[in-house]
């Protein structure tokens, strides 16, 4: 665990995360509009709305522009014959080691946003934990899933 894993996830992950973040930022926008409407109807200060605009702008800049690319930079994985090595996290960097023989099952998943960019996420479950590689090219994800499930099919002593 001295060196980070070698493989990066798909570059389009940034776009997909940005899109998702944009969709989420509808909520602060709606709240802002509601604040202005309320201020107009009930005749209280527009300052609340203004402050909220500033806060949601900062929030949108951070979550839409900064976080996806930082997250992508940090996200790495590597699949060995005996184990899977994953690194992620922006402020707190986590590196996880999952032995192949502990892998119970692997899934690929694709929501509407990932589908738009031809991506899929890969979920690796052991008996006690689940680990997700969030965005891989579709074919890559399927290939990796098959590869892991093949490698994981070693004789399991128990559990």
């Amino acid at each position: 665990m001295r060196q980070p894993p070698s493989e990066r996830i798909a570059v389009d992950a940034i776009k997909a995360w940005r899109l998702a973040a944009c969709l989420w930022s509808v909520i602060p926008i709606l709240v802002t509009i509601a604040l202005f409407v309320l201020a107009y109807l009930f005749d209280f200060s527009y300052w609340f709305g203004a402050i909220f605009i500033a806060i949601s702008l900062i929030e949108i800049i951070i979550s839409v522009i900064m976080i996806p690319s930082l997250r992508w930079k940090r996200w790495r994985y590597q699949v060995f014959d005996q184990e899977i090595y994953i690194q992620h996290g922006i402020l707190i960097v986590s590196r996880t080691l999952v032995p192949m023989i502990r892998v119970q099952h692997v899934d690929t998943k694709q929501g509407p946003i990932l589908k738009k960019y031809g991506l899929a996420s890969l979920t690796i479950s052991t008996a006690a934990t689940t680990h997700e590689i969030p965005a891989l090219l579709n074919e890559e994800a399927s290939a990796l899933r098959d590869q892991i499930s093949e490698l994981a099919r070693v004789e399991q002593d128990d559990v």
């Binding site: 665990m1 005996q82 707190i92 960097v93 590196r95 996880t96 192949m100 502990r102 934990t129 559990v159």
Partner: protein, 477 residues
Amino acid sequence: MSSPKRLHPAAMIFTVITSIKQLVYALIPIIILFSNDGFFNYVILGIIGIAILLIGHSILSWLRYTYIVEGDQLRIEQGVIIRTNRTISKNRIQSIDLTQGIIHRLFGLTKVQIETAGSDRSVDAALSAVTFEEGQYLHNELKHKNETSAVGEDSGEKPGLATKAISNKRLLIAGSTSGSFGVILSLVALAFSELESFIPETVYTSTTRWLSSQAMEFLIVVAFVLFILLWGLGILGIVIKYGKFTITRYENELFITRGLLEKKQMTIPIKRIQAVSIKETLIRQPLGFATLSVEIAGGEQENKKVTETLLFPLLKKSDVPAFLSEILPEYQNMPDSYSQVPKRGLIYYLLRTTIIPILALIGVAIALPEWIILPIIVVLVSIALGIAQYRTASYHLTESQLTLRLRLLSKETVMLKTKRIQAVEKSQHILHRKQDLANMKFSVLNNFGGKHYLVNELALADSDKIVDWYSYRKKEF
């Protein structure tokens, strides 16, 4: 083999009891609401109606419930309206527990709980009442095929390798240091707050007036007596629960019997043990006592909070290695020395425990300066706790075993085997990276799908050493 069998008719009693338990919370408010309004007769009628329904349902479900052991499988058919037909294959069964409650013991019956792996409780089977011989028969019949060498206590075909029983003196110590006092106190307080509304106002006020007119000494004596009473109740609870606690090692499994009123028999296959933990609570640690428990996959579940299964309620810390070498030789390597967390990690431990108390202190200092002494005490206690956690956090590594020492409040020593650890995670934030520290997380399986042991602020070199030990590639990377 044979025709399908029914449970003992007493099973109907248990069905009724469980249904009443489920209904009681929903019904009591309705009953209270309506009995004031002259609807009393209807309430009685309603209760009678429900009672008839319940009894009818329990008779029908008893009639419907059949089980049969066929070859490699246990097959259970049940259900009044929706009929389910469940087949459990022998080699999927994790453990078979026999439990005898008070009613069971009146009739010479036992409850048979059959546990399978995984967190899905609904696939497990429980035969709520069969005769004790039938229970023993099922226990022996359904056992994993290649474990036929180890058989239950009463069959006596092969003697256990080692047996340990708890002495009455130890049991009393266990009870008096259990800390269940707090639990009982809160239960009493809860019961009182529920009852309060039923006590007439006049009685209440006259009692408080009488109490406040008494001398201080008298009140202290009353409080003291109450304290002793609750403490005694706590001891009694432990004695009833863990009385006659016996653990026997067979070749491939551990066999535990316990309980004075409700008798429990439990089998733990050695293969299912995921981790062994030695716990010393704050009260027991200075006295040199510890509790031994194991994490098992798909084990018995007493209440939602306790996940580990007790191996022994109380033993001297110094006797633990001897106990393990007899009962559980797989885990007998108790290390003498541990590698500790480096000094530069202390500040994070202190931050974690004191941050909330310090915020509270600031809040109180601003709002209620006359009460400042209380949060100061809390802050001091949390500093002590932080230091204690820091001093406890340590690890020891051998070829096949990782031993961790951790503390939340109680000190816990956990023994983990390489092949029982499901995943290892190392995480660092920016300051950690500058200071060469790392947090480690070790995940093992238990009956809720995962238990995670955290060791914070290990030196980076140590954490890399552990990862190398764990890594199946056995090379530096």
